[in-house]
């Protein structure tokens, strides 16, 4: 039994009817539905399984994005569009450039994975490819849901276009090795250097405190994520080893010549086989519930830190403007004595220009600070809800596992006692 989930769905979680353990579906099998309802938002986004177009290394996955909504900003109640992975990245890139500098926390898109995608393209139908595809589909779904949960982003025309319009210009600039991609990398490097050199005079203790908190949270979440990934790995290993032991025990039972013991050993083998499936399911729960959530939050916190950095950049700009203004004033003062009337006029114009810029800068800084406070408040609220829901769901999965274990061992015990 596998139950669907979404960290973003607070109120109702609808579980799919059939057994949709990811391992039992191949990439070309029937669609797996993960239904997520955001009751507050009256919007439902489902990403169905995909079609593989093209061939060889140029092949690409097409995802069907289905949006069902009662909100009036959408032109229709229900719309289904086809999107590629690069379209998602393109959307994120547009939103980031529009909103990040204002202090909005823009949900990060799922990461590219050249290795993972190549394996799928090459046509490998093994378990890791299946999982990769499912992992990506699930990540894209969560990405869209987080994006539309943001009240400002939901109204954004790019988002609406993404969800509604059947044709979307191909986002070429998202390719890693494109010109835009390289520019992005350069900018990132420049930002990192700048961050080190900007020493901000923090007048607001709230920001300093929050930044420290997010730094700590980042460290701990990464650690937790690593431990959970290790747990997933070991549980999968345990499942494999249990299956292997089950087979061995069955063989042992076959060669045992005492009939009752032989039967008991075969029963033991059966129990262990069931337990191995249990471990596998539990490992999936570990992964899809906890591990992915933690991964998402590690990336989200990077986005939050990015927003704080934007504030610092805004402050720096404001400071630079003030420095410039000061210089212009000094220049004007010099010109006062030099008796060059046209240059003087120019200087006075420049002063006014820079005064305007300083004012704008201060307004921007205030605005971004206000936005960040609001965004962080919203983020924290979401974080609390997400973790609560997911952890409770996870504990319920653990409960289920233990209940099944009890069932299996209780069935085995009389068999063991029957050995005479």
């Amino acid at each position: 039994m596998w139950f669907s989930w979404s960290p973003v769905a607070w109120c109702c979680l609808v579980s799919a009817e059939k057994d949709i353990s990811p391992s039992s579906n191949g990439p070309k099998a029937e669609p797996v539905l993960f239904l997520c309802i955001c009751a507050h938002m009256s919007i439902l986004i489902v990403i169905n399984f995909f079609v593989f177009l093209g061939d060889g290394m140029n092949a690409y996955m097409v995802y069907k994005v289905l949006t069902k909504t009662s909100l009036s900003i959408f032109s229709r109640d229900e719309v289904c569009v086809k999107r590629r992975f690069s379209d998602f990245l393109g959307l994120h890139s547009k939103l980031a450039s529009k909103y990040m500098h204002m202090g909005y926390i823009v949900p990060p898109a799922p990461e590219k994975s050249i290795v993972g995608m190549t394996k799928v393209k090459v046509g490998k139908e093994d378990l890791s490819s299946v999982e990769f595809v499912e992992k990506r589909r699930s990540a894209l779904e969560r990405y869209l849901l987080r994006t539309v949960k943001h009240p400002a982003l939901l109204k954004d025309p790019d988002v609406l276009q993404f969800l509604e319009s059947s044709e979307l210009p191909r986002a070429v600039s998202t390719q890693a090795l494109s010109g835009a991609g390289i520019l992005r990398m350069v900018n990132k490097a420049a930002d990192a250097v700048n961050k080190m050199t900007i020493k901000m005079n923090e007048s607001d203790a709230w920001f300093e405190e929050k930044q420290q908190q997010f730094d700590n949270l980042d460290v701990q979440l990464r650690k937790l994520h690593a431990s959970v990934e290790s747990l997933v790995c070991h549980r999968r290993e345990l499942s494999v080893n249990t299956a292997s032991f089950a087979k061995s025990a069955a063989m042992l039972g076959n060669s045992e010549d005492h009939t009752a013991l032989s039967r008991a050993l075969s029963q033991l083998a059966e129990v262990e086989e069931k337990i191995d499936q249990l471990h596998q399911d539990q490992a999936c729960a570990d992964f899809y519930l906890i591990s992915e959530l933690l991964g998402d939050y590690v990336r989200l916190i990077t986005a939050v830190k990015g927003v704080f950095d934007q504030r610092m950049k805004t402050w720096a700009k404001c400071q630079d403007a003030q420095v410039m203004l000061q210089r212009k004033r000094e220049a004007e003062a010099k010109l006062q004595h030099a008796n060059k009337p046209d240059k003087l006029q120019q200087a006075k114009d420049e002063i006014r220009e820079w005064e305007g810029k300083v004012q704008q800068g201060e307004r921007d800084f205030e605005q971004i600070s206000k936005n960040i406070r609001r965004e962080v408040g919203r983020f924290e609220k979401d974080r609390v809800k997400d973790f609560r829901v997911v952890i409770i769901k996870y504990l319920e999965s653990l409960v289920h596992t233990q209940q099944q274990l009890i069932k299996y061992w209780e069935a085995f015990l009389p068999e063991a006692k029957a050995i005479a």
Binding site: Q213, N216, L217, Q220, L221, K223, L224, S227, V228, S230, L231, H234, R235, E237, L238, N241, T242, S244, F245, S248, A249, M251, L252, N254, S255, E256, D257, H258, A260, L261, A264, L265, L268, E380, R383, V384, F387, R388, I391, I392, L395, E396, L398, V399, Q402, Q403, L405, I406, W409, E410, F412, L413, A416, K417, I419
Partner: protein
């Protein structure tokens, strides 16, 4: 048995002392291993086998007393000391047999001396017709010591709580290995003491009573090489002997059965070990998760802090249970399989010896016929043939009984261990379930 583990402040357990004083859960651990493995063949009610470790039964047994065994000779390991590179066992004997000077006495023995005793049984012609109880494995603390050393080196990179926790874990692991090796050595002695013929062996009595060092040194390189060649010859010979079809249906069946069984037990034993190792790794991960959750709980500024702390506490407890599950599986399943791997090998060895004797007997017959035909050295050939015949028949007779007993023992041991395994798994699963459900109740109530 109270385990007083004195692991020094340094990370090298240079001194580990295991002493019996009063019953506790550790005791039940060991005793169940041992009683399941050394049920005396003569006992009628197999579940009421002599409980050599039971503190309560130190006196005369009220139930199912078989005058041929227990009361006359009781052996156990009452104490054990782990030093840097060796383990010293205190072998304690209680006996009413006249050949001992006292009724109760103790000596200190090391692993090499146990091996010496085992080898003396194997090499003796007298005991060719019996299943020689398998020798206990060498105490191996290398892996555990290595881990403790790594922990010491990595001390700087983790918090104080983590370090103390890991240290406790590793100490517990070391203790578990130590208890197991004591149990294995004790089982060997108990099996010998329970065997109607082996218990009378002179070397055994010397082993039990002689309170000086037996001066048994381990085999040097030359002797080890000799052993190696002997084994090669033996396995080649074994193949030849096994190829000879036995007239006796019973032995023919046993041969085919044991060959296959031994291989399958080997496979199961290895696979069960791997399974249990994965289980332990998973439990370790949960431990780390619990620690990180705790840190998150203390640092978090939102309502989540209480949440995290509660879940961290839960995982701490479930982790302990998971570790117990792995340990119990190790004890009830893995050790059982390992032991029967060794015993089935001993049974195979018995069949080999019988097969060898049969071949010798048949050869002697042929030689006798030839001698009679040539009418030369007939008397000598006759005596040789007589000797071979007697040897073969003696082995066959006792071997049959031994193999039947082996089956009885095996079935009883598997039954006991499988039942206990299932019961323990149930107990732990129920414990886990209760913890999870109560935590869920609290967490859901909070929201």
């Amino acid at each position: 048995m109270m385990v007083g583990a004195f692991l020094s402040h340094s990370l090298h357990p240079s001194y580990l002392h295991l002493q019996r004083s009063d019953a506790s859960s550790n005791h039940e651990h060991l005793s169940s291993v041992l009683t399941s493995l050394c049920v005396s063949p003569q006992q009628e009610g197999l579940d009421d086998g002599p409980d050599f470790l039971s503190e309560e039964d130190r006196g005369p047994r009220a139930v199912n007393v078989d005058l041929q065994t227990d009361a006359t000779l009781q052996v156990d390991i009452s104490d054990a000391l782990s030093e840097r590179d060796k383990v010293k066992f205190t072998v304690h004997t209680k006996s009413t047999l006249p050949n001992f000077k006292q009724n109760e006495f103790s000596v200190v023995r090391q692993h090499e001396e146990f091996i010496w005793l085992h080898d003396s049984f194997v090499e003796s012609e007298e005991y060719a017709g019996y299943i020689i109880p398998p020798a206990p494995p060498r105490p191996d603390f290398d892996a555990s010591r290595e881990k403790l050393q790594k922990l010491g080196e990595g001390e700087g990179s983790m918090t104080k709580e983590e370090f103390t926790k890991m240290k406790q874990e590793l100490e517990a692991e070391y203790l578990a290995i130590f208890k197991k090796t004591v149990a294995m050595h004790e089982v060997f002695l108990c099996r010998v003491a329970a065997h109607p013929v082996l218990r009378k062996d002179l070397n055994f009595h010397v082993f039990l009573e002689y309170n000086q060092d037996l001066s048994v040194r381990g085999k040097n390189k030359k002797e080890k090489l000799e052993d190696f060649f002997k084994n090669v010859v033996k396995s080649a010979d074994g193949v030849l002997v096994a190829g000879v079809k036995d007239v006796d249906d019973f032995f023919e069946h046993e041969k085919t059965f044991l060959l296959e069984y031994h291989n399958r037990v080997k496979d199961s034993s290895a696979k069960s070990d791997r399974m249990i190792r994965s289980h332990k790794s998973a439990a370790d991960d949960i431990n780390r998760i619990a620690s990180t959750l705790y840190t998150l709980g203390t640092q978090d500024s939102t309502d989540l802090c209480k949440f995290f702390l509660k879940v961290s506490e839960l995982f701490e407890k479930t982790r302990k249970i998971e570790a117990r599950v792995a340990a119990d599986e190790d004890l009830k399943l893995a050790d059982l399989l390992k032991y029967y791997l060794r015993e089935s090998q001993a049974a195979k060895d018995l069949l080999y010896r019988r097969g060898r004797a049969l071949v010798d007997y048949e050869n002697a017959n042929k030689a006798l016929d030839k001698a009679r035909a040539k009418n030369k050295d007939v008397l000598q050939a006759e005596t040789t043939q007589q000797v071979c015949c007697q040897k073969f028949e003696k082995i066959s007779e006792s071997a049959k009984q031994e193999l039947i007993d082996f089956k009885t023992r095996r079935v009883a041991a598997f039954r006991k261990n499988l039942v206990e395994l299932a019961e323990l798994e149930l107990k732990h699963a129920k414990g886990n379930l209760q913890l999870l459900q109560s935590c869920l109740g609290v967490l859901k109530g909070d929201t």
